[in-house]
């Protein structure tokens, strides 16, 4: 259970990115967060693992208050994150990128000498096999295609053995076919491993295909929260503006 209570974020330049967001997300739900650029989707995700500190409000993961905890490391490793631009370390190998998902569990000294345990190595290889990149482990991350890099990002998140996955526009930089292969992995993690997934998406058609629930943001407020099929033309226009037209992404 992930609970967000009245979270507000005001940036130093005065931008009010989030304006009193409250959400309750049961364990195992696949939630798509939609909205225009600048509606606060990315800020919301980052407030959950405190990559961005909320100005006010509380976030709870099960019984732990994330916004008050002194052991942020312990919270963050329960929450995996996937990014629009993959955010791999380009010059490191694929395997090192995947192993870095374990850093929340490994001590400073051990990580300094790159000494991960045998299980970590086995897990890393298993994760790479799961995303179909077994043979790529010793290649540099920047030699892979966009879709492959995003799958390395997923493997890195898997290493944390997370309960929650935060995916920030995971397919916005990918072509439609590759996008679906990446989202299929997310769906599998949700259905098979029971991970809660919070996924920012641009396209409603993708949200409809994968999500149990859609939350729409506009100017830092929730303007819709419900099942994907409830979004009709009127609701769509209230989320995206009068000019908007629905487009289908294959």
């Amino acid at each position: 259970m992930l609970r967000i209570e009245n979270v507000t974020k005001v940036y130093p330049n005065g931008t009010r990115a989030l304006n009193g967001i409250s959400l309750e997300i049961p364990t195992g739900q696949f939630v798509a967060v939609i909205g225009l650029s600048g509606s606060g989707k990315s800020t919301l995700l980052r407030c959950i693992n405190r990559l961005i500190e909320p100005t006010s409000g509380k976030v709870f993961l099960d019984d732990v208050e994330v916004t008050a905890t002194t052991d942020l490391r312990c919270i963050r490793r329960r929450i995996g994150m996937i990014f629009q631009h993959f955010n791999l370390v380009k010059r490191s190998t694929v395997l090192t990128n995947v192993l870095s998902g374990r850093l929340g569990y490994v001590g400073s000294l051990a990580s300094m000498f790159h000494s991960f345990s045998q299980e970590d190595y086995a897990d890393a290889r298993a994760s790479l096999t799961r995303v179909g990149l077994t043979e790529k482990e010793s290649q540099r991350a920047d030699t892979l295609s966009g879709g492959q890099q995003q799958r390395v990002g997923i493997a890195r998140a898997l290493m944390q053995k997370p309960e929650v996955i935060l995916a920030d526009e995971p397919v916005a930089s990918l072509d439609p076919a590759t996008a679906h292969s990446v989202l299929d992995h997310l769906e599998q993690m949700n259905k098979k491993d029971g991970m809660t997934v919070l996924c920012n998406l641009h396209f409603l058609s993708i949200a409809r295909r994968y999500a149990d629930r859609v939350v729409a943001l506009k100017e830092g407020r929730i303007v819709f929260d419900g099942a994907p099929e409830e979004i009709d033309d009127a609701k769509f226009k209230s989320i995206y503006g009068e000019e908007a037209v629905q487009v289908e992404i294959a």
Partner: protein, 352 residues
């Protein structure tokens, strides 16, 4: 240039610029040009007056005349290119520079011609090969094909290369840890971190802005003549130079991977280790090689003020007017610098 649509009186504009160059332009609405003339022309006149070249002031008045003409045109709503007055001022300043630096065609007497001849001859025929017998330290006599100058210069050249290497390594040891504190993107989280950032960058600037030669003179005074003084000078200056380059390399990295590593639960040390370091290593290697290369050249000059190495030998030859011997050292330096230049360029290309 903002020219108002309302026409102004050209005669008034010209008169204004006659009283004070630039005033007519301001009246016509060309504020930037007006201010440039208003401030620039008096400053230019003061410069010529300051170096005692009053005859140039008359020529400067031509620009004044142009300003009057230009003011009238601006008032009529036209534009004039400032090319002509700029060109004129450039030429006048080159005249002033020639006069101040006393540049002239040198009048060579017999003696001067003789000295230049000797130097040229030294350079064309450096004292490298000279077959003769020398005595080794353990008392044996051996025949060597090399001259004394070559036999003395070679080990001093090596000394210079090692001076540069050690100087670079010592600055690297201090510059690498400091550079993380001098990177704005890592140090912007709190006011205290920002202060540390400012202090670190300030330190780099101070160390970098003091010439190596000055550090060398101080080091020679402190530890005596010799290569050790040279190493100290190179090391201190290098901390500033390398620190700045390293910090800028850190500032230019991508933020995304750092965010991703932080999201896994990694602590700040691990974030630097896994998110920052892999991104900066190639640039750090490139900058370090570049510094070593620079230090070899600087180490030579440091020798001139007593910092050891081949420079120290070179200044002795020059003081004794032994040009062929001095040429041996200079050719050797040129060769080494060329090889290092090439090698570091090749390696830099490989690692980036």
């Amino acid at each position: 240039m903002s020219i108002n649509s309302a026409r102004r009186s050209p005669i008034l504009a010209a008169l204004l610029s006659l009283v004070l160059p630039g005033l007519g332009q301001i009246y016509g609405g060309s504020y930037r040009r007006g201010l440039t003339l208003l401030i620039g022309l008096p400053v230019q006149a003061m410069l010529f007056y300051g170096v005692g070249l009053n005859w140039l002031l008359g020529w400067t008045a031509l620009v004044w005349a142009w300003a009057i003409y230009d003011a009238a045109r601006i008032a009529r709503g036209r534009e004039t290119s400032a090319m002509l007055p700029i060109l004129l001022l450039l030429i006048l300043n080159i005249f002033a520079a020639c006069s101040v630096t006393q540049i002239r065609v040198p009048q060579l007497g017999k003696e001067q011609r003789n000295v230049i001849g000797q130097i040229t001859q030294g350079f064309v025929k450096p004292d490298v090969l000279h077959r003769h017998t020398v005595e080794t330290p353990d008392g044996k006599s051996i025949v060597t094909p090399f001259s004394d100058a070559a036999r003395l210069s070679a080990p001093k050249m090596l000394e210079t290369i090692y001076m540069a290497l050690l100087g670079t390594m010592i600055s690297l040891v201090f510059a690498i840890p400091l550079s993380f504190f001098g990177a704005r993107n890592l140090m912007s989280a709190s006011p205290i971190l920002k202060l540390i950032y400012g202090l670190t960058r300030g330190l780099f600037t101070i160390l970098r802005s003091v010439e190596v030669l000055i550090f060398a003179v101080i080091a020679v005074a402190a530890v005596g003549i010799g290569p050790f003084a040279g190493v100290i000078a190179l090391a201190i200056h290098g901390v500033g130079a390398l620190g700045k380059l390293y910090s800028e390399a850190i500032e230019s990295i991508e933020h995304g991977p750092i965010e991703a590593i932080r999201a896994t639960g990694a602590n700040e040390f691990q974030v630097v280790l896994y998110g920052v370091v892999p991104q900066v290593v190639p640039q750090f290697i490139a900058f370090t090689l570049y510094r070593w290369d620079i230090n070899v050249r600087m180490a030579t000059v440091i020798g001139l003020v007593g910092g050891g190495g081949i420079g120290y030998l070179l200044i002795q030859y020059m003081n004794l007017l032994q040009w062929p011997q001095a040429a041996t050292a200079i050719w050797m330096i040129a060769g080494v610098v060329m090889v290092m230049d090439y090698a570091s360029a090749v390696i830099r290309e490989k690692v980036i």
